[in-house]
């Protein structure tokens, strides 16, 4: 792999940019690998990268039914933060946030991580009590999070309407300054390039249709529409389709898949300096480097794999955005899309071993998986390589639904589910 640098740009500038090489290759699948990862999103590609880099396992394939990063990695609103309530959550999201901080250098790929601050608006006494509880829990755990008065919130984000007569009056806000955004596609591409450079095979347009198991129930490989691919270990990182893939191995996981929508506006000049979320009226918004306002809406109430969603959901979110930021009332929305999120009963992810020997699962990230990409990938690689979870991810096991040791982030996540 040729390193990207200012000298590479200068060199290519002098030869009409004819020397750039492909960022990753598309090899024919081998008959067998040490590890097969199902799903080439950020989590799957990242896990393959860390398997190669930190655990020396390079005979790895990442299998993807569509195109690389075309699922939820390319459909989210790119928000990064780690101000969760419980230690199990803080462990993994903070691990992730620390990796985000050095990710561009690590991958030699600009993922455009921008710690512009994530501000959560409080609209009532309950919000205020809940956010202050989060702030205290976070600070005791060494994670930055602070309380702002309405005036301080307005100073941090000038388009915000904090007037007493606002439809959704604001009585304060919680701010995590290290939170922010990153370029979602670049995360998938950066991991793919770095993983491919270490010998990982990325196989796109290859749909897993079955998981083959041996006489003792152990995993032997995956059946795909391009034939059987053997594997000693299989890691499933299939987001909204995790239930479907796990069912192939006879494992039921406590998930329900629902569409989550997002939309972007026409490009504007820089006007919105941070990320703002409001749990109570359900809206979150930031501005991309292209200038588009990136707006996240809610999930539909029913199970669906349609990758679309009801119009009433985004209407509700835009109602809230227009009230919080009256300046955006005449902005035109340009595109809208949906992704399928895999939600667990306690709204915390599942990462761990399964009853099937050699089969590992990373799912249940629900509406908030993007921020966890580097941390989740890093710990998933550890799980696959060692066969047991890393200390930071030990609480996220599948067994917690039997033992009752749930991580109840349902009310603690930033937005209502």
């Amino acid at each position: 792999m040729r390193k990207y640098s200012v000298f590479a740009i200068a060199r290519e500038a002098m030869r009409a940019h004819k020397g750039w090489e492909a960022q990753w290759t598309s090899p024919e699948p081998r008959s067998a690998y040490d590890v097969v990862i199902v799903g080439a999103g950020g989590h799957g590609l990242g896990a393959a990268y860390y398997l190669a880099k930190e655990h020396g396992i390079t005979n790895v394939a990442v299998i993807e039914k569509g195109w690389l990063g075309g699922g939820n990695t390319g459909r989210n609103t790119t928000i990064i933060r780690s101000n969760y309530l419980y230690e199990e959550s803080m462990d993994i999201y903070e691990h992730s946030l620390k990796l985000w901080e050095g990710l561009s250098q690590e991958l030699n790929y600009n993922v455009m991580y921008s710690p512009r601050g994530v501000m959560m608006l409080s609209h009532n006494v309950h919000d205020q009590q809940s956010f202050k509880r989060h702030i205290n829990a976070n600070r005791l755990y060494g994670i930055d999070n602070e309380w702002l008065t309405p005036e301080q919130a307005k100073a941090y984000c000038p388009p915000l309407d904090i007037s007493k007569t606002a439809r959704y009056p604001i009585n304060g806000a919680a701010l995590q300054r290290r939170g922010g955004t990153a370029r979602h596609d670049a995360v998938a591409w950066g991991y793919a390039r770095a993983a491919a450079d270490r010998g990982v095979h990325i196989i796109q347009n290859c749909e897993v249709t079955g998981i083959r198991r041996g006489p003792n129930g152990e995993v032997q490989g995956v059946e795909t529409n391009r034939g059987f691919i053997g594997a000693k270990k299989v890691g499933v990182s299939a987001a909204g389709h995790s239930s479907v893939v796990m069912e192939m191995a006879g494992v039921r996981v406590p998930l329900h898949s629902t569409p989550l929508q997002a939309l972007v506006s026409e490009p504007l000049k820089p006007i919105f300096p941070c990320v703002v979320m409001s749990n109570t009226v359900h809206a979150y918004i930031s501005q991309s480097d292209k200038g588009e306002l990136v707006i996240g809406a809610g999930t539909d109430q029913y199970n669906s794999y349609s990758q679309t969603g009801g119009l009433q959901i985004i209407t509700h979110t835009l109602d809230a955005i227009c009230e919080l930021f009256p300046i955006f009332r005449r902005v035109k929305m340009m595109r809208q899309w949906g992704g399928i999120t895999d939600n667990t009963p306690d709204r915390s992810p599942i990462q761990g071993v399964t009853p099937v020997p050699g089969l590992f699962v990373n799912c249940g990230w629900g509406t908030g998986g993007f921020k966890a990409t580097p941390g989740s990938a890093n710990l998933f690689a550890h799980l696959i390589a060692r066969g047991e979870p890393h200390r930071l991810a030990a609480g996220l096991n599948l067994d917690r639904f039997r033992t009752g040791r749930l991580i109840d982030e349902a009310a603690a996540a930033a937005v209502a589910h």
């Binding site: 239930s243 996981v253 406590p254 794999y305 349609s306 679309t308 009433q312």
Partner: protein
């Protein structure tokens, strides 16, 4: 937004009047204190989450207020049937299921909603 047929009101109404209520036909264990942790986890947490035909409960919360069951395709979001609570799981004629899959109506049109409702 979905258009849902309430089997009690016998009318097609907007999704806004309804609340989704999870998988249908889950029987509560007779003696919940006697079952194992595995059985409880299965009863309480594990759901089918099918891609394709699913059986689910809905409640006409802003209408008659009653629970009923529905058979729906989770890829097209098309309702194949709604039926009253208490009835056994209804079988879907294969022809109808095939049509639903073939049509793959992921986008609602005026003809499919307003036109039909008229």
């Amino acid at each position: 937004m979905l258009l849902i047929h309430c089997p009690y009101c016998e009318e097609d109404r907007s999704e806004l009047e309804f609340r989704w209520a999870g998988e249908a036909h889950i029987a509560r264990p007779e003696n919940i204190a006697a079952i194992t942790d595995e059985e409880f986890a299965e009863y309480f947490f594990l759901r089918n989450n099918e891609k394709g035909l699913t059986y689910e409960r809905w409640r006409h919360i802003h209408g008659c207020g009653r629970f009923f069951n529905a058979a729906r395709d989770t890829v097209s979001d098309r309702f194949l049937m709604t039926y009253k609570a208490g009835l056994p799981k209804q079988s879907i004629p294969p022809a109808e299921e095939a049509t639903a899959v073939a049509e793959e109506k992921t986008v609602e049109t005026w003809e499919a909603t307003e036109g039909d409702a008229r």
